[in-house]
Symmetry: C2
Subunit: 213 residues, 2 copies
C-alpha cells in the first residue's frame, strides 16, 4: 500500500474536528465501557469511555482518562463526591444507547432515563451498574493525577467486586470477553465486534510461542 506522511506541522494545521478524528484513531482499538456513577443526592450518571486501561492485578487496579471540560465531567465530579464507580462492558446489543450517553445532558437528567438502559445496584456500592451489560465490576476511587501537559485527569480505581456470566470464565483464569459480545471502539464513533485469531503460549527467549488449541 502507498503510504502517506504527516509531520508535526501537518497535524497542527488540520481542521480541529478532522484532527480529533485522526488522532483518536491512532492509538488502535480501544475498550468500550460505560462508567456508572452517582452524586451525593442520589442522581445517577452513565457515560461511555474508551480510555479504560489495566494498571495492575494485585491489587486489581483500573484507570481511565477524563477531561474536566468534556461531556463526561459529571462522572469525575460524582466519583470525587461518592468515592466509587462501576465499569460495564458495552456489547453489540447496547452500543447505540451507550454512544448516546455522550450527549451533553444536564446534570439532573440521568443517562439511564435518556437512553433506556437499566440501572442495577449491588449491596456493596452506591454507584449504579448497567443491567444490560454482561461483564461489570465495581471500583473504589483510590488516586487521581492531573497530567500537566494538557490538564486531562487519570482516575484510578481498585476493583472491589466483579460480576460475569459463569459460561465466560475460562479454565486458565481469563474471561472470554468475545463470548460475552464485548465490543471495541475505534476513533470517536466506530464500533466493532471481534473474532479471535488465537491465544499464544507464554513467550520465552529460546523458542517461538505457539497457538494454544
Amino acid at each position: 500500500m502507498k503510504n502517506t506522511y504527516f509531520s508535526s506541522s501537518d497535524i497542527l494545521e488540520m481542521e480541529s474536528r478532522q484532527r480529533a478524528a485522526f488522532i483518536n484513531s491512532l492509538s488502535g482499538f480501544k475498550s468500550a465501557s460505560l462508567i456508572g456513577s452517582i452524586d451525593s443526592n442520589g442522581n445517577t450518571n452513565l457515560a461511555v469511555f474508551s480510555s479504560v486501561v489495566h494498571l495492575g492485578s494485585n491489587p486489581a487496579l483500573i484507570g481511565f482518562i477524563n477531561r474536566p471540560d468534556s461531556t463526561s465531567r459529571h462522572t469525575l465530579e460524582n466519583i470525587l463526591e461518592t468515592n466509587c464507580f462501576t465499569i460495564n462492558h458495552i456489547n453489540a446489543a447496547i452500543y447505540k444507547q451507550a454512544h448516546q450517553t455522550s450527549a451533553r445532558y444536564d446534570k439532573t437528567i440521568s443517562e439511564f432515563d435518556a437512553t433506556g438502559l437499566t440501572p442495577e445496584f449491588s449491596k456493596l456500592l452506591e454507584a449504579p451498574y448497567v443491567r444490560e451489560s454482561q461483564i461489570k465490576y465495581g471500583l473504589e476511587f483510590v488516586e487521581k493525577y492531573e497530567l500537566k501537559i494538557n490538564g486531562t485527569i487519570l482516575i484510578i480505581g481498585k476493583v472491589v467486586e466483579i460480576i460475569i456470566p459463569e459460561s465466560c470464565l475460562l479454565a486458565h483464569g481469563a474471561i472470554d470477553i468475545e463470548k460475552a459480545e464485548t465490543i471495541a471502539i475505534s476513533g470517536l464513533d466506530s464500533y466493532h465486534t471481534t473474532h479471535q485469531l488465537a491465544r499464544l503460549t507464554y513467550a520465552k527467549p529460546d523458542k517461538m510461542s505457539e497457538e494454544i488449541s
Copy 2:
C-alpha cells in the same frame, strides 16, 4: 446467562497467574502495539504493549503503562535515555512475532533479530519503526508519572510524525484501522481481528444518534 460473583477476598485468594489472566481481561479489548526504542549505544529494542491510550489531540498526546520490573523494562530505560520512541500497530500478519517480543531477552539482543521483524528508520527519530506495520507514528518523550498505588509508570509522548497507508485515511479525518488489519488484544495472550458494526453520528441530547452509512 447465569452470573458468577467475585468479592475483593475472592480476587485476593486467587492463584497469582489465574488472577493476572482474570484481571487483565477485565478492562475490555486493548490496543495492540509494538513500541520501538533505542539506547544511546544504538541497541534497538521492540516490545509488545496493550496499554497504549489516547490522551489528547491538540497537542497530539499518547500514553502507555510500563512496569519497571517487567520484560519491557528496556523500553522504559531507552526512552529516558534517548527521549523518543515509535508506536507500530500490530496486524494479523505479524501478531506471533509481536507476542514473541515479550520474552525476556538480554539487553544486548534486539527483538528485531530475535523475531524476524524489520527495523526501519525515519529522518526525524533515532528510535526504530517496524517495516511490517501499516500504521506507525513517532513520539518525543514529554512526561512520566510513577503511580503511587503500585509503582507502575505512565509514559507520555507527543506525536511528531505519522505514517499510514493512503487508502486507510477516511474523508472525516479518522484512520480506517480495520482496513489496515490492526488487531485487538484481550487479556495477556488472546489476539482478535475486528468487524465494524457501524459508525454513529455525534450524540446530541434532543435526538438519538444514528448509523452513518
